[in-house]
């Protein structure tokens, strides 16, 4: 499964949606994922790809990891996966 598909599945599971309902331009807010849900998603992503996501729940917009849309999150994860290998 591609990084894109895996990230979408993680977000869909958290949002209790079908993966087909998670579009690339969706925001977390539109998906109904709150701050606690976001922390769970980050954890699930780290577990799935064995990476360290630079994310600070005190200020989610502060770090290098862009969470403004599904597409940005996928891009961020792809970069981290590439850096790691």
């Amino acid at each position: 499964m591609s990084v894109k598909q895996q990230v979408i599945e993680i977000l869909a599971q958290q949002a209790v949606l079908e993966p087909s309902d998670v579009t690339l331009d969706s925001t977390l807010e539109q998906l109904g994922i709150d701050s606690l849900g976001l922390v769970e998603c980050i954890f699930a992503i780290e577990e799935a790809f064995d990476i360290q996501v630079p994310f600070n729940a005190n200020d989610p917009t502060e770090g290098d990891f862009d969470i403004s849309s599904v597409a940005r999150i996928i891009a961020g994860v792809e970069t981290l996966v590439a850096e790691q290998s």
């Binding site: 606690l36 922390v39 769970e40 954890f43 780290e46 577990e47």
Partner: protein, 403 residues
């Protein structure tokens, strides 16, 4: 001062997954202590406990709830639902704003600590689930009850080892009695039956390998249990005006500190708490028909407790009944006083005295009527519930039949 009554009760413990099952088991003198079942139990010396079997959290809670609910929180929510359903109360407006939840627990989310320490120490993982802290914190159960039932008044958790739930219920009682709240949800919950939990207790060498036999000369230690019991405490007029079914009246309590030893019990400290509860409830010693003993089944507790009761009650000590239901459900540590309050309610409401089971040999140092092995029918107006914790912190509650 307001009068305080109990209008709802709920529980889950080794004897049953609700109040009727639990009381029926106590009446039948059934033992809920069994072989422990959890990971790495083969590395323990102590392999028995009052464990809750046949409970499937997945059937009750959804995935997101389970990510946040340690087992002690799961127990609390189930017991709270039973209690609040029975009371018929719905919390909204002013009632919600002043009603709160005060719970006791000694260990909080012990299972969550245990699992996550195992994963980082033993399995070498460097990452834990983000909800480890909100799941294991001692106040998690109280907070989830407040959220689930819309309780917006004073809420907190009390932790005084084996007296936690008695101390908690004393606080709730005080709040209703003094008019701070019309209703309070209170009780306790504990879930320490996991490898690390039992391993820690093994260290003290006070645990029995075969049975909990309080007051019996051949007793050889305590047996741990798990579970929760939750009550609705309500101001009398409030309960009456809505036609609530009143289970019993809480009439007094007292607390004392031994200020002596971190583990050894003190006769004087226990006696002062019992005397204090009688005074607070305006009772004469002769009024008391039943005492649910702390009765842990250790050499030290049982003889000290009997000496304290004999000292406080004098001649009447031989007339009253004193039993330890820990022989059936085990020692639920921070929840024990709450589960044991059920036996006190059964005594004053139904006239059934729960027995001390596993009683085999009389001990001259525990020469009281411990209701050995079989439940008894008796008309009892007033019952006391004793809790004497490690650390020398004692709390005794008095309940009276509401007729």
């Amino acid at each position: 001062m307001n009068r305080v009554v109990i209008t709802g009760a709920g529980t889950i413990n080794a004897l049953g997954q609700n109040v009727p099952q639990t009381l029926a088991a106590m009446q039948a003198g059934r033992c809920g202590i069994s072989e422990l079942k959890f990971r790495d139990v083969d590395r323990l010396t102590i392999k028995i406990g009052g464990q809750v079997h046949d409970f499937d959290p997945d059937a009750v809670f959804n995935r997101q709830q389970l990510a946040l609910y340690d087992r002690f929180t799961q127990f609390t929510l189930l017991a709270a639902k039973e209690a609040i359903d029975q009371s018929g109360l719905v919390f909204s407006g002013e009632l919600a704003a002043t009603s709160g939840v005060v719970l006791g627990t000694a260990g909080g989310g012990v299972g969550t600590w245990d699992e996550n320490y195992r994963s980082v120490y033993e399995e070498g993982k460097n990452r834990v689930h983000p909800f480890v802290v909100p799941k294991l914190m001692n106040n998690a159960a109280a907070s989830h009850v407040s959220m689930e039932f819309n309780l917006k008044g004073p809420s907190f958790t009390v932790s005084t080892a084996c007296a936690s739930s008695n101390h908690a219920m004393a606080q709730a009682f005080q709040m209703v009695r003094t008019g701070l709240s019309k209703t309070m949800i209170t009780g306790g919950s504990e879930s320490m039956l996991c490898f690390g939990g039992i391993k820690a207790w093994e260290g003290l060498r006070v645990m029995s390998k075969d049975a909990c036999r309080p007051f019996s000369a051949n007793r050889n230690g305590m047996v741990q249990g798990e579970g929760a019991a939750i009550f609705v405490f309500e101001e009398l007029q409030h309960a009456k005006s809505r036609g609530a079914d009143i289970l019993a009246e809480v009439t007094g309590f007292a607390m004392s500190s031994d200020a002596a030893d971190i583990v050894m019990p003190s006769q004087q400290g226990a006696a002062r708490a019992i005397q204090g509860a009688l005074r607070d409830a305006r009772l004469n010693p002769e009024d008391v028909g039943y005492i649910n003993a702390h009765g842990t089944g250790t050499a030290a507790n049982d003889k000290t407790e009997c000496a304290a009761v004999a000292h406080v009650f004098g001649q009447h000590a031989n007339a009253l009944m004193l039993s330890s239901t820990k022989s059936m459900h085990g020692h639920l540590i921070g929840a024990t006083g709450a589960v044991e309050l059920l036996a006190c309610i059964m005594a004053v409401r139904d006239g059934i005295i729960a027995p001390t089971i596993g009683y085999q040999e009389p001990d001259p140092e525990c020469a009281l009527d411990v209701v050995p092995n079989e439940a008894r029918e008796a008309k009892v107006d007033v019952a006391l519930s004793n809790a004497f914790a490690f650390g020398g912190l004692n709390a005794v509650l008095a309940v009276r039949a509401f007729r």
